[in-house]
């Protein structure tokens, strides 16, 4: 690894001020597990890292807010999310997803903010949170802003964040009886980056699916909502025919890429099948 400087600001605002909107070799580092991989491979060679470990501890807290939503501070470790009692009680789908995300050691160190800001479409947290309707809070030098999580992603490893902006928290609304599931499909070994991630959430009204959210990851260049699949599911009974229609719609809509995890035609077939399985799992909690 090439030598660089590391600064350790004591506050979020100081951290933001140490970043440079024009300088790509200066970057923030939270858990560093993903960033270090890029540095080791030479993809990223920093001149300076702005370490966030010493910023205000509140940014690492998970708090229940009044309307039953959870506010997860960006500096919370993934392991904190996995172990959090409120997450377990209110967002079991998130807790389940954490168990398949990388491994215990990485989750001990990696932070929520880093996992969201990295922009790697293979990561598990963005699709799950996007399906749950999460919004991210972002701090910049002048003002803060907030947006739906899926709007954070502009492309493959690309986000809409400015180089001197930091994610401060992610807000996840209460499920309010909605059903949710995340299917991580690995095609080579059990512990692998997914070939495909499918996250769904929806309400059930009188036996029909209502207000569905369908999010696809890993097979696509970025975490993407599947609007036609959502339309196919909306107001439909969760029977085989409707689920097939939704799967077909998603397979048609998704811009699937070929890579070492499988060809695009194959991953489209996986999407067809796993969208169905995701909805079923959301309904009955089965891990098909």
């Amino acid at each position: 690894m090439i030598p660089f400087d590391m600064v350790e600001p004591a506050s979020l605002q100081e951290a933001v001020s140490l970043l440079d909107p024009q300088e790509p070799t200066i970057r923030p580092v939270a858990g560093g597990t993903a960033l270090m991989l890029m540095m080791k491979s030479g993809v990223f060679q920093p001149t300076r890292l702005v370490c966030l470990h010493r910023i205000e501890p509140e940014h690492a807290r998970i708090t229940l807010v009044a309307d039953g939503a959870l506010r997860i501070g960006a500096m919370a470790t993934l392991r904190q999310v996995e172990k959090d009692a409120d997450v377990a009680a209110r967002l079991p789908v998130l807790k389940r997803a954490m168990r398949t995300l990388s491994n215990v050691r990485v989750r001990n160190v990696a932070r929520v903010g880093g996992a969201l800001a990295h922009g790697d479409p293979h990561m598990d947290l963005p699709p799950v949170l996007a399906a749950l309707g999460a919004r991210v809070a972002i701090a910049g030098p002048k003002q803060s802003r907030e947006m739906p999580l899926e709007d954070l992603y502009a492309g493959y490893y690309e986000t809409v964040l400015e180089k001197n902006e930091l994610i401060t928290a992610v807000m996840v609304p209460a499920l309010d009886g909605r059903k949710a599931a995340y299917m991580k499909v690995t095609s080579r070994t059990a512990d692998d980056w997914p070939s495909l991630g499918v996250a769904v959430s929806f309400a059930m009204k009188n036996g029909t699916i209502s207000d569905p959210v369908v999010v696809v990851s890993a097979a696509t260049a970025k975490v993407t909502r599947m609007k036609t699949a959502e339309a196919a599911l909306n107001n439909a009974a969760p029977d085989d025919a409707s689920l097939r229609r939704a799967g077909d719609a998603a397979a048609e809509e998704a811009e699937v890429l070929s890579d070492a995890h499988g060809s695009a035609p194959y991953k489209r077939e996986l999407l067809r099948v796993y969208l169905r399985r995701a909805v079923r799992q959301a309904l009955d909690g089965s891990a098909e």
């Binding site: 090439i2 030479g42 070994t189 512990d191 692998d192 695009a264």
Partner: protein, 757 residues
Amino acid sequence: MTEAGRELPRLEARAKVTGRAEYTHNLRLPGMLYGKVFRSTVPHGRLRRIDTAAARALDGVHRVITGEDIRRLIPEPYYGPAFHDQPILALDKVRHVGEPVAVALAADPHVAERAVQLIAAEYEELPAVYDEVAAMRPDIVVHDMLKPAGTFADLKHLKGRTGTNVALDYHLRRGDPDEAFKSAAHVFEHTFKTQQCLHVPFEPFVAMAEPADNALVIHTSNQTPSFVRTEIARLLGWPENRVRVKVPYLGGGFGAKVYVKLEALVAALALIVRRPVKVALTMEEQFYVITKHPTTFRIKSGVDTDGRIVARACEVFWNGGAYADIGPRVTQKSGFTSPGPYDIDNVRIDSYELYTNRTPAGALRGFGIPQLVWAYESHTDLIARELDVDPVAFRRRNILRDGRPQASGTAMKDAAVAEVLETLAARMGWNDNQPFDHGGGAIRRGRGIAIGFKASISPTTSVAIVNVSADGSAVLYTSTVDMGQGSDTAYAQIVAEVLAVKTEAVRIVHPDTDVTPYDMGTLGSRSLFHMGNAVRLAAEDALAKLRALAAEAGLPEGTNYPPAEIFKKRFGMQAGNVIGAASFMPTYKSPDPQTGLSDNVTPFWMIGGAGAEVAVDTETGAVRVEKLVNAADCGRPINPAVARTQLSGAATMQLGFTLSEVMLLDGGQVTNASLADYKIPGIRDIPPMQSELVAAEQHSGPFGAKGLGESGTFGVSPAIANAIHDAVGVRITELPITAEAVFRALRQQAGRPLEDA
């Protein structure tokens, strides 16, 4: 017997669980430099220019070394066990992506790494060949002229040959296959392929050389210290005794660390800069050192109306990559077993080792056998299926029974083919009269078995020394490398058995060529048999000398005095020692150059097989192995617990080669050179396993034992393919068996082929 056959933990167990076991990786020396390697980015090209100025100018860089610098020290800097074809650093030409071209040296490895980024090279690119069958044509030639090392008789005819990529052609003719095919009731012909994959020892290649007074010390993670000494001495033009090679424990080897890998490089670097130099590769760099041969195997069988195989023709193409390494031996040693463990009167084998522009291929846990078993056991299953015969019954009818000659003409002695087959059948419930549950809905189940066999490498030599101290404790000196297979413990058990002491009273001295005697190498499952016999003989020699000492001391013959008392009686105090030494080399007869036949081609046979039950998700092609049964003949195991771990460990490795491991190439560039994208099995990929050592004895082995390191790999891949066929009716003919491959086959079968990417 009390010590041979005893199940005790490895002697080094405590050192390993406390993290204190000694590996080359740990070693640091005062004044040492780290070398980082600049590698070729083109698969085939003439080296026009190397620009090292920027690297040399970097603060902290000691020196940058190129092939020409090495040529000034070593005029002919080419090495290799079969061909002297591999330059220490590229000269004139590069032949695969990742080939070492230059080395930056610095006291700080990060500085050396940065310097490598500043080196630039220019190549005149040449067309490249990657496929083993395509390489049979001489349009693209990887080496301008072939340079066999002279060690092997069957390579001599290739000396000086130009315009070819064939680094060995082995042919065997037995009976009259043409006539037999003509008169056979049924003829079957299939082609099978295997992928390029690799060993991935977790201690990546690492070596260090240390200039000494008129000598050179090499510390290395290597399986063949004696060979390294000989080869480095040859390169330097020195007598062997000026080169000292030391090897502690290895963090895995699996055949990767045989012969010279980094040793010639560190030796040259250390002599040029006159300082200790360490080169430690990263995981990524391991993808550019040595791999397992990709193969194409065309196999054809004639079967008579009774379901007996009457003829078999095998045409095997081995993709050896850019340098021969030990590939030509794979081609021959494994080549003659390519018809499988079947009693067939008419056999034709043509086996070719080919140069291509890939990372070199060599020995990987099975020395080519798993590639062959993949083909012949898939083929055998297809025949049984086509003839509507139960696959176990078909094998029962055709296997080589004890005493019958194998295709080479060498008899199957102490070869428990039938026992392995029957053990698998029993553990798989094959003999029950219950119908197998094939499942329903999206998930379909199936089962399959496969058996294979291997000859040992021959002729090879092992030498051992047993030193009994005056208190009766013993030290064993051998050049066997314990890379996890448990040789230290097994040898200590053999010594203890002979000397009638406890295994724990025997200490093992690790390979140090100034101290430990010659051994051909820790490879091919040969150690327990070859060195094990040498160790037994050396211990017996020590015992005889102890008895002589007792006689000298006037102790009555036939009484069992403990060694300590003998020494005390003879020398009047705790003094003196007794040194037992022995060499072991089994007899061997080279195959006839015309027919490829020999009636003494191996000192022992290894037999292994597997049975698998799988569940196939027909909607995705995903295969889950629900049960894996492994069986092998290792004679009478010296340490059954360690032996069973070897068996299941080998099967687990082969499970990776079967389902997930593949090196992906794009224009000769490996695109998945990391464990993130080259997927080896983890704890969640392991099916419930049963691993069984069949009751057997190798009469010529030490206390009835023989090697086992590879046998667990033999049957796994075809057993799984056969089980998939049983489950869903599709046949996969190429490894690895990915979910997508199965899905595509299912769609093909359904008449709705999936479009290409």
